[in-house]
Symmetry: C3
Subunit: 210 residues, 3 copies
């Protein structure tokens, strides 16, 4: 099965956003040289899609079948590396790149899963897995507890974006506008979560202890 | 190939046990809200089976093809979250849930591997991989050295349970009693290991240093 | 598709080298008993190949289809365990075993990827992924930032070795001498990097801060 142009475009945009995020993470982590930055950027950018394609049995992953993936992932990482000084002002916004990647990947993950025959609920879950996958790999590699565990509004926006995309496909209205709407829904919830430091409820026991 | 009812039942029981264990781990780890607890519970519950199905080429994994997996994994995690106060007394027994998941998954991992054409020895190993997989993912995500490395009696009971199950299949006597017997063998060895803090021998060099 | 004898031989040699490296890492990490050492040795030895075979859709992985993989991985780990005292003098050279595994696996990863239909650039990348995979899994399990991120000359020699192997295949001159030449190119660059503590350039911003 070949990639649709829409899927490819969204996937590459998400790949670019995650490459910037992963590379900047590598620049801020100590002692990463250009190879480390490039490696972390590429793993962050490509990890979610590789996980998705493995789980839906679309092997070898699109990453290794369509050259733009590798080029965009490497290019985004190198841009972050070489422009790290002029882009320094972007560093506080590093989470926005992550949010953009999350938003685009939850949509491509969900719609590609449907295309490969998964049912509605698994497609939504796999969309979220695709969205959070790259950032989780990044966090494990630099030894942070993954954002998906510590941030209340990380998995939820990914599930929302994936659900909107799946609903649009099922309603027969999926296309560029619906895809961008689904991604935007995810992005806005995620950014609101970062901005207002929102979290989901914690368990009663934990609250009492504090 | 469709899942046999016995495989499905054992798999779901193991999924439930690991969901409880993963979610309680998340509750005890700091700052995990309901989404973090649910995510960690589901990854712990579903990780071993997803790994197994990937390695035996049963893709997409059963997790995404049979809805009860996702429901049981989410349900177990939510039960642990909402009943965390009344269940507080269960917390010291958190390792028993892990042991139950280990015991059931080593059996389903080994028998499903045979069903997909693997030879006896690889099926035993893959059974053990299935058993220890979810807990290892859990430990990596919360930044602990995985139990399978630090606890002498974790991989061994999984190998024993898998070997008993494989022997039963090869002898033509596999069924509910044999499956439960194999799981029980694993469970008892694991619990004895926890109870008496048993470990396998360490290397001579290491001993001398102490 | 069956393994060629050359691929199998190189793969097993790399497996043995990584098993020694992983097991010695386990011996030096605290509190690992024989099971932990064996588990870490086997995961280090087999991780890269399992990742490769998953990504090129050669499932189930060769590890579970050809018994010598499991035997060599277990044997290498046990040798490191039982001979840990006489081999103590080898401990400072632990990185050489890693370099040997890296060198052999980047070649087998690249050539097997070509054999399974991947294009030239993805085959080179997948060769490098195969080489660095086992060590990265090892580092994550013992909670170190992976060498591939922190060491400038780890991914690069793997890419060089993979590229030489791919060039030899494309030129129609691939065989034992070309394979060993490609592995040697990787090995020498890696060892020079360790010996002279070479690193790739760091970003301007980072340099200024120091």
């Amino acid at each position: 099965m070949s990639e649709s142009p829409l899927l490819l475009a969204l996937d590459l945009a998400g790949t670019f956003a995650f490459a910037l995020n992963g590379a900047i993470t590598g620049l801020r982590a100590t002692r990463l040289d250009i190879v480390g930055v490039l490696t972390l950027g590429m793993m962050t950018a490509l990890g979610g899609g590789v996980l998705r394609d493995t789980l839906i049995d679309a092997l070898p992953p699109a990453t290794f079948r369509y050259w733009p993936y590798l080029v965009v992932a490497a290019g985004g990482s190198l841009i972050a590396f070489f422009l790290s000084r002029p882009l320094r002002r972007l560093a506080p916004h590093i989470e926005l790149f992550d949010a953009a990647g999350l938003s685009l990947f939850c949509v491509t993950g969900a719609t590609k899963s449907l295309q490969y025959g998964l049912a509605v609920a698994p497609a939504v879950i796999l969309g979220a897995v695709t969205g959070v996958g790259g950032g989780t790999i990044r966090d494990v590699l630099v030894r942070r507890v993954p954002t998906v565990l510590t941030s209340g509004l990380y998995a939820i926006p990914a599930l929302v974006g994936a659900a909107v995309a799946v609903a649009a496909v099922r309603a027969g209205v999926y296309g560029l506008p619906a895809a961008l709407g689904a991604a935007l829904a995810c992005f806005l919830i995620r950014v609101a979560g970062i901005r207002y430091n929102l979290n989901a409820p914690v368990a009663p026991e934990t609250k009492n202890r504090q």
